[in-house]
């Protein structure tokens, strides 16, 4: 991993069109501004990972269970 030290209002340029700027440091929190093309998706990593994890868990439903629940809801 490349490690760079930055001060407030300093930026990092990634490729031609992505800029990451340190806006503020408040105790343990750091505010970061990101300029990137619209097609580049930006997510908080832990949220992205939790969606990924939930998607994986969601694919294991048996047909019997679905049938059973469909009947259960109908009643």
């Amino acid at each position: 991993m490349l490690v760079l030290t930055r001060k407030i209002n300093q930026s990092i340029q990634i490729g031609q069109d992505i800029e990451i700027k340190i806006l503020a440091v408040e105790g343990e929190q750091i505010k970061i501004g990101i300029e990137a093309p619209k097609h580049v998706e930006i997510h908080r990593k832990e949220i992205y990972l939790s969606i990924q994890e939930e998607n994986n868990k969601a694919t294991n439903t048996s047909i019997d269970l679905l049938r059973q629940f469909t009947n259960q809801i109908k009643k």
Partner: protein, 149 residues
């Protein structure tokens, strides 16, 4: 064309029934084509079946039937990606993680599936605010909807 599905065996579908997820879904980035069909003629379950992989299917519901007040603000970026021009062209579902007993089943309200029904484009939209999580129990909503219906 004929495809093999996880829940309905071999089924015949039209090209026009294929929804394109250009970037796949988190965890399934290489799965870019799905079709959405009801699990059964009755009941709330919709199946999002991978065209490429018969064993891959998601169980979904319409969140608005189960979570009163559920609302999602679609970003300009999403509208652009899905080429959405009219509100009427939008369909929205949430993925269930089905567990037994049914009371343990959860809905992922943080990553709804948004579809442009006209252009047949879809995407899992990841909400960046913290108001919804990946696991919301259906129980209460289900119980009340059963009583009413």
């Amino acid at each position: 064309m004929k495809i093999l599905t996880k829940y309905h065996g071999e089924v015949e579908i039209e090209e026009s029934q294929i929804i394109h997820f250009r970037q796949g879904l988190p965890g399934f980035l290489d799965k870019t084509e799905f079709t959405i069909v009801p699990f059964h003629e009755e009941g709330p379950f919709m199946i999002m079946q991978s065209i490429q992989t018969p064993a891959l299917a998601f169980v979904m519901i319409s969140p608005f039937d189960f979570f009163e007040g559920y609302s999602v603000k679609l970003t300009d970026q999403l509208l652009e990606t899905l080429e959405i021009k009219e509100k009427e062209d939008i369909a929205l579902f949430v993925i269930l993680t089905v567990k037994e007993p049914f009371e343990d089943t959860t809905a992922n309200l943080q990553g709804p599936i948004v579809i442009n029904t006209k252009k047949k484009l879809g995407k899992q939209f990841i909400l960046s605010d913290a108001s919804y999580k990946t696991k919301h129990y259906l129980t209460n909503q289900l119980t009340s909807s059963v009583k009413e219906g």
